[in-house]
Structures are given as C-alpha cells and as structure tokens.
C-alpha cells in the first residue's frame, strides 16, 4: 500500500512547491532608488542652472552629493547581494556606482557646455529606470 502511494506523494510534494528563480521584490530598495533618482535629477538640474549663469557648484557641494550617493548605492548593493538569484540588480548597482564615479571626475574638471551635463543626467535617469523596472517586475514576497 505504502509503495503504491509513494510516487503519488512525491508528485503531490513536487507540485506543492512554487519555484523561485528570482529574488523577491524589495519595497525599501524601490523607495530608496526613487528618492536617489529625484536627488540626482535635482543635482544635475542645479548644475545646469549654475553653468548657464557661468558659475559652477563648489567642490564641497559636489563631493557631498557624490559621497552620499555612493554611500546609499553601497548599502543598496550590500542588500541586493544578500538575496539569492539577484545578480542582475547587483551588476546594475555596481555599474551605476561606477558611472557616478566617472561623473564626479568629469564634473570636478568642469563642464564647458550644457550638453555635457544633459548627457550625464539622461544616462543616470535611464539607469535608475532600468533598476526600478527590474525591481518592480520581481515577484512579491510570499508570507507563509
């Protein structure tokens, strides 16, 4: 009797499980990314406004923005790494940190035309959208 039931039980147990190929959606990550996206948008808009007025943001202001941004992204990257099957988000965050590093270097040497700021602003905004698009597509965490 038990031998006959074993395959059936195995099938039942198999279908009792839901597969998880991917890390769950993280609401805190989404909120922090949205906040940082707005902050970056404001920063580059201010940079453009200053450039139009033939001024530039102080090095102190620049360093504060890029320092805070790296700290937030570093924390998000650590959190992303703590999930299994989350390597796409981890890679995207690492690339974004690298982009902000490059942008800091470019800005420290000074921009000559608005287009230089616009290029960075658009690229960063698109990068945030890529991260958010993936985060929102992730499966919702199932509470048992």
């Amino acid at each position: 009797m038990f031998r006959k039931l074993t395959p059936l039980l195995a099938v039942v147990l198999l279908f009792a499980c839901a597969v998880t190929y991917y890390a769950p959606h993280d609401a805190e990550t989404e909120t922090k990314l949205m906040a940082l996206q707005s902050k970056a948008e404001f920063f580059y808009q201010t940079t453009a406004t200053e450039l139009e007025a033939e001024r530039s943001l102080s090095l102190e202001t620049q360093n504060r923005f890029y320092g805070e941004t790296q700290e937030i992204l570093g924390n998000l990257q650590n959190k992303a790494e703590s999930y299994l099957n989350n390597k796409d988000t981890v890679h995207e965050l690492a690339l974004l940190r690298e982009s902000f590093d490059i942008a800091q270097d470019l800005q420290a040497h000074g921009f000559r035309v608005l287009d230089e700021v616009l290029l960075i602003q658009k690229a960063m905004d698109s990068h945030f959208r890529a991260l958010l698009s993936l985060e929102r597509a992730k499966p919702q965490r199932r509470d048992r």
């Binding site: 279908f15 009792a16 988000t89 470019l106 290029l119 597509a137």
Partner: protein, 111 residues
C-alpha cells in the same frame, strides 16, 4: 568622419536587443525601444561634441563609459525580466496542477 544617424543607430541597437530578449521581447519592447532611442540620441550628441572639439578624447571616453554602463544596465534588466517571466509561467502551471489535485482528490495543498 561620417555623421551618426541616431535613428539608424537606434534601429541597430533595437535589433540586437530583440535577439537578446527572445520570447520576452513583446512584454518589454515599448519600454526598451524608448530607452534605446534616448541612448542613440546621446551617443550622436557626444560624437558631435567631440567632432566640434567641445570635449576632448579623454572626456568623450568617460562620457561614453557612462552611456555604455546605462546600456548594460538595460541588458541586465531584460535578462532579469525574462527570468521573472519564466518563474511566473512555471508557477502558474504548478498552481493549475495544485488546483487539479485539490479538485480531484480533495486535498488542499498549502505553500
């Protein structure tokens, strides 16, 4: 040096993205088409700035690296969404089997 046609560049990028996305393309096509057109426009602008001597080679390389990182980010988003789509499809199939077992044998399976 030849000019870059942003529309042609966007089309080339789009074809490459479609190949990479495979079956998940329909779901993400509009979003990615829009992003690739922005990226193509940026690359064209960067090229013009470099030709006009507004940015030097070093600055252009750094600007290009930022654009490349953004393009790569979208590649990872496409990959991830394809996997999430596969997970949803498999889980929908498993849920149907669970329902069948429940209807047939009267067993309620919790997960």
């Amino acid at each position: 040096m030849p000019d870059i046609d942003p529309k042609e560049l966007a089309q080339q990028m789009l074809r490459a993205a479609m190949d990479a996305a495979g079956d998940s393309w329909d779901e993400v096509s509009k979003e990615v088409e829009w992003e690739l057109s922005i990226l193509a426009g940026s690359l064209s602008l960067l090229y013009q700035l470099q030709l006009a001597g507004v940015v030097d080679d070093e600055q252009a390389k750094k600007q290009f690296a930022i654009q490349k990182n953004t393009a790569e980010a979208w590649k990872y988003t496409l990959q991830g969404k394809a996997l999430v789509g596969a997970e949803n499809a498999v889980n929908a199939a498993l849920a149907a089997v669970r329902q069948f077992i429940s209807d047939t044998f009267g067993w309620v399976i919790f997960f």
